[in-house]
C-alpha cells in the first residue's frame, strides 16, 4: 500500500519535470537555454520515472519472482546510460551550435567567441 503510493508519487514527480522540460523548450529564446531545460529536467524526471520501475521490480523480487530482478537491474542500467549520455549529448550540440556561429541571445559576456576570434585572426586556421 505504502509502496504503491510511493511509486505513484515518483511517477508524478518524473512526469512534472519532463513536462517542465517540454515547456522550457518552447519558452526559452535560443539553443543554449533550451538545452538547459532539455538536459537537466529530463535527467531528473527520468531518475524518478525509472526509480519507480526499479521499485516495482524490487517488490516483485521480494515476492520471489525473479523476473523482478531482470526488470530492476535492466532499468537501472538504462538510468546509468541516460546519466552518462545526456550531458555529453548536450555538450556536443552546444559546441556544434557555437562553432556554426549561433550567438547566445542577450549574452552579457562571451569569452569563447573572444578566444576564437583571437585565434582565427592570429593564424587564419579557423579552428580544427
Amino acid at each position: 500500500m505504502i509502496l504503491d503510493i510511493l511509486i505513484f508519487v515518483f511517477i508524478g514527480i518524473g512526469l512534472f519535470f519532463n513536462l517542465l522540460a517540454g515547456i522550457g523548450l518552447l519558452r526559452f529564446p535560443d539553443v543554449y537555454t533550451r538545452l538547459h531545460a532539455g538536459t537537466k529536467c529530463t535527467t531528473f524526471g527520468s531518475i524518478f520515472l525509472i526509480g519507480s520501475v526499479v521499485l516495482i521490480g524490487l517488490n516483485m523480487w521480494w515476492e520471489n519472482d525473479t523476473n523482478g530482478s531482470v526488470l530492476a537491474i535492466h532499468s537501472a542500467a538504462a538510468l546509468i546510460a541516460i546519466l552518462l549520455t545526456n550531458p555529453v549529448g548536450a555538450h556536443a550540440i552546444a559546441r556544434a551550435a557555437h562553432r556554426s556561429g549561433v550567438q547566445p541571445v542577450g549574452a552579457v559576456i562571451d569569452e569563447l567567441a573572444e578566444k576564437r576570434g583571437k585565434t582565427t585572426s592570429d593564424s587564419q586556421t579557423g579552428g580544427d
Binding site: 526559452f28 550531458p87 555538450h91
Partner: protein
C-alpha cells in the same frame, strides 16, 4: 596481464547483472550454462578490449574511491541536480534569464577527471559545458544567470559555477 584480468572480471560482473533470472542453480538467480558461457565470453572480450579499457592507470582499483564516488552521487551531486531543476522551473515560469559564456580553470589533469567535472557541471544549477580547451583543460561554460560579482576577477573563481565539485573529482579520480 593485469589489464586482461581486470577487464575480464568487469565484463563477467556486467554479464551476471544482465542475465539474472536465467535459472536457479547458482544463488537462485543464474543457471550453470549461463555462468559457463559468461566466463567464456568475458575471457574473449577481456583479451580483445584490455588495451582500450585500462590505460596504465590503476588508481580506480582502490575501493575507497568507489565509496567516495557513490557518496558524491548520492550527496552533493543529487542535491545540486534537484536545485538545478527548481532553478530551471523558476526560469521557465518567469522567463528571467541573464546568460553568458564564461571560462573557468578547474586545474584537473586527467581526461577522466575533466569528463566527470564537465558532466557534473552540465547537470547542475544554471550551467552547461559548451567547449573545452584541450591544451590547458579550461572549460567554457554557458551560464544562464551571470553573477556580476563573479565577473570582476579573471579568470572566474570555480566556486561560483560548480561549488566544491573540483575537489570531489580530484579526490575520486586523481
Amino acid at each position: 596481464m593485469r589489464a586482461f584480468v581486470i577487464t575480464t572480471i568487469v565484463c563477467f560482473l556486467i554479464y551476471l547483472l544482465l542475465t539474472t533470472g536465467s535459472g536457479s542453480d547458482f544463488l537462485g538467480l543464474w543457471s550453470n550454462i549461463e555462468l559457463i558461457f559468461g566466463i567464456l565470453l568475458s575471457l574473449i572480450v577481456g583479451f580483445i578490449a584490455r588495451t582500450v579499457f585500462v590505460k596504465n592507470n590503476y588508481r580506480l582499483l582502490n575501493p575507497v574511491r568507489w565509496i567516495l564516488f557513490l557518496g558524491y552521487l548520492i550527496g552533493p551531486f543529487f542535491f545540486s541536480l534537484a536545485k538545478a531543476n527548481l532553478d530551471v522551473a523558476y526560469r521557465v515560469i518567469t522567463g528571467k534569464i541573464n546568460p553568458g559564456i564564461v571560462k573557468i580553470s578547474p586545474g584537473l589533469t586527467t581526461d577522466l577527471g575533466i569528463t566527470m567535472l564537465a558532466n557534473s557541471i552540465t547537470l547542475t544549477p544554471g550551467t552547461l559545458t559548451v567547449d573545452i580547451d584541450e591544451d590547458t583543460n579550461d572549460l567554457y561554460i554557458h551560464w544562464i544567470n551571470v553573477d556580476k560579482k563573479a565577473l570582476e576577477k579573471k579568470p572566474i573563481d570555480c566556486s561560483y559555477i560548480c561549488g566544491s565539485f573540483p575537489q570531489w573529482v580530484r579526490r575520486i579520480v586523481e
